[in-house]
């Protein structure tokens, strides 16, 4: 998994694959996102090609941590297999998902 932050550290674009094996990389991403100050945290998934259930679980963890800080998490532009995983697990009912 690769990632690229915006200058304000509250938006990140992740690409490649996000699976159980990527936990260490995602820990870094989560820490930087949660250190930011903006009300909304945005994770752009447009370039993410594959996710497994462990990746979905890690997104939920970030959402919970954002809630604790009274911030919101937006997932943006899931497509392909990632979108299909969101549909199967009804993730759009658990997150704010923007097309």
């Amino acid at each position: 998994m690769r990632f690229e932050f915006d200058a304000d550290e509250s938006k990140v674009s992740i690409s490649g694959e996000f699976t159980f094996t990527d936990h260490a990389t995602f820990k870094v991403i989560a820490a930087r996102l949660l250190d930011g100050q903006d009300k909304a945290i945005v994770i752009d998934l447009a370039k993410l090609e594959f996710i497994d259930s462990a990746g979905l679980g890690m997104l939920l963890i970030v959402r919970d941590e954002a809630d604790k800080a009274r911030r919101s998490l937006v997932l943006r532009s899931p497509c392909g297999q990632v979108k299909r995983m969101f549909d199967v697990t009804k993730f759009d009912t658990l997150f704010t998902v923007e097309a």
């Binding site: 094996t21 497994d52 963890i61 199967v88 658990l94």
Partner: protein, 219 residues
């Protein structure tokens, strides 16, 4: 050299290679086109080798035996499914479904089967980090690190079955969530695996007391 030189074995001309367990690229090399079976080098001793059983031949087959340590460190399913796609025609959609389902099955085999970890340890940032530290600790035990995960694909013109075997103690069906629980939207950080398998496979069967899962895909 990533793959030990292929060895011809038995009358049906199967070809066995060995993977060094170092990287996904060396695994891709070990699963080159004429190979029918690949085993991680760390598994090669008399005892473990004899644990493998072989099935009657189908139109095609590909078997991979890896250690728990390698299943934890490498994206072995990505390489395995890419190797399958070199052997039998798979549409982009079908390849995606196979990859998604086998990924879930292999992670389950590693985590819940061979490492005997529960899902509860992955519910928060701190607990997830702690669980990975526990796994790293478990993997210092040669017995656990080298415990076997076997992925076996068998296909004909109509169907492709992928069997994922672990070395754990299995599970009781009563512990599995009900269908409506599996398909409900839930905040739980884990436990979506079965719903994903049912959505992406044409058939799912749990065998051998829960130590093997069989995933079927119509071709």
């Amino acid at each position: 050299m990533s793959a030990i030189s292929p060895v011809r074995r038995n009358e049906v001309n199967e070809t066995l290679t060995c993977w060094d367990g170092v990287s996904e690229s060396s695994l891709a090399g070990a699963l080159s086109l004429r190979v029918t079976e690949c085993m991680e080098v760390a598994l090669i001793d008399g005892n473990r080798y004899n644990q493998l059983s072989f099935r009657p031949r189908a139109a095609g087959c590909l078997r991979l035996a890896v250690t728990t340590r390698s299943a934890y460190r490498h994206k072995i399913v990505r390489v395995f499914v890419a190797a399958l796609a070199m052997r039998t025609e798979l549409s982009r959609s079908l390849r995606e479904r196979i990859r998604t389902a086998v990924q879930e099955a292999v992670i389950n085999a590693m985590l819940h089967g061979n490492l005997a970890m529960s899902s509860e340890g992955f519910s928060g940032l701190e607990s997830t980090a702690a669980s990975h530290e526990i796994i790293e600790g478990l993997l210092t035990s040669p017995q656990i690190a080298r415990s076997l995960i076997r992925v076996e694909a068998v296909w004909n013109s109509a169907i492709l079955n992928v069997l994922v075997h672990d070395s754990g103690t299995g599970f009781k069906r009563k512990k599995m969530p009900l269908s409506e629980e599996r398909h409900a939207a839930t905040d739980a950080k884990s436990g979506r695996g079965l719903a994903i398998l049912e959505a992406f496979c044409d058939r799912v069967a749990v065998l051998r007391g829960g130590t093997t899962i069989k995933l079927g895909f119509r071709l």
